[in-house]
Symmetry: C2
Subunit: 255 residues, 2 copies
């Protein structure tokens, strides 16, 4: 049985303002909730269906500050999934304070004004796969704790540190630190001929607008995925997540 206050809290956490105020966010589904418990990643409350809870080992259950048994009708009521999947949890946000030092020895992704939650989720999965530790997002990027982002990362957000900061302040500091800064654009050098390195920042811009001139001026090098197809209508760009996939692969194979 779930209290009306808890229902109210869960509903409020769909909205960024209340997530930030409470420093809490929602995860859903058997696999994701188990992963957060397994990694002891700050689970505040688990609402699970009776049978699902009964199959969960005690050591996992004990990691949640609170456990509530719900019927599938109750789960449906609090879920934002079309097909609710056995469990939902409220989780404490981690405090990610960006230390510039942590960018020094590895390759990091910098995202400006990414708007689509699915894109950010896919980029986080790609970062985890390619061993990228840090993603830095501009302040106007979609919220990491947006339910659609969280669900589409499939748990990868537990393996990547994600920061939000003013890129106009970060990039000059990076330049001063001597970090290579690459910008992905449509008119740069071919990534297949670039001197990919194992450290530095790779900048990716907004889904339609790309990177603004204000940020481009900090880039030591502009890089581009060359097209092997015809030019023409509908062929002017790749999806941002596809771009990240190809660029990370290329840096990692050579870096």
């Amino acid at each position: 049985m779930i209290s009306s206050n808890t229902i109210k809290l869960i509903n409020s956490l769909r909205i960024k303002k209340y997530r930030d105020k409470n420093r809490l966010f929602i995860i859903e589904g058997d696999k994701l909730v188990k992963e957060f418990l397994e990694l002891n990643a700050g689970v505040n409350l688990v609402a699970g269906e009776t049978e699902w809870l009964s199959q969960l080992p005690d050591y996992l259950l004990e990691r949640a500050e609170q456990v509530i048994e719900v019927s599938s009708a109750e789960l449906k009521k609090i879920s934002s999934l079309q097909t609710p999947n056995k469990a939902l949890a409220i989780v404490h946000m981690r405090s990610n304070k960006l230390k510039h030092e942590s960018l020094k020895e590895s390759l990091s992704i910098v995202l400006d004004y990414i708007q689509d939650p699915g894109n950010l989720g896919t980029i986080i999965r790609l970062a985890a796969w390619f061993g990228i530790k840090n993603i830095v997002c501009s302040l106007n990027s979609v919220d990491l704790y947006n339910p659609k982002v969280v669900q589409s990362t499939m748990g990868a957000l537990l393996h990547v540190d994600i920061y939000y900061t003013d890129l106009d302040k970060l990039l000059p500091v990076a330049a001063e630190m001597g970090l290579p800064v690459f910008a992905t654009t449509l008119d740069g050098d071919s990534i297949y001929k670039s001197s990919a390195t194992g450290k530095g920042l790779i900048l990716f811009g907004n889904e339609s607008a790309g990177l603004p001139a204000g940020l481009l001026r900090y880039a030591g090098r502009k890089i581009t995925i060359p097209s092997f197809g015809n030019s023409g209508f509908g062929l002017d760009s790749l999806n941002i997540a596809s771009t990240v996939a190809v660029v990370l692969s290329e840096f990692k194979r050579s870096g």
Copy 2:
């Protein structure tokens, strides 16, 4: 003014059964409708807002079999977009009959049981970018003319030939023709060490299930994108569109 019969037809075309019966599908938005007219790609009917129509050159308008002026309220009524964008068109399907010969001299993508419309759309955009001429889908894959697929290709579907066929019949024929068949799996050779070629078939499987054994047995070589990250929860696979992005990039840079 749009007739109630036209409204009925447009609504019915949201459903595959009626698309197939009428051999028609829907495209939406300023850019996409213009592209189809520009390439003279079988536009049956254009429903456009007055001002949008008035800015369209005559030679483009004449390529549509029928042009209807609509108010933005009317467009909203027939659109399936959250924010309708100036125009919608009904388009004739192309008849794509797969000729095995056409697979012979180039690299083709073979998709088994792809379910998500956004994934298929992104894969079509990737194919166009990397100069892949043919995509062959299993019969149980999501429909190319699903509105979400069409919209997410951003026009790239005009540059790639897409076929639906029984893969259990196609793959033995490909083997007989001596075409190299690559299967993307989680336990194959690293794509960075594979002998990528400029021709052959690359098989990609379903979003969660991957490729079934029945199809894998036709593959001469299994290939994998190695992970550079930690193993663990949420790190067991890449999104299918990300996989296609990395594999195509790797084949094209080396092929």
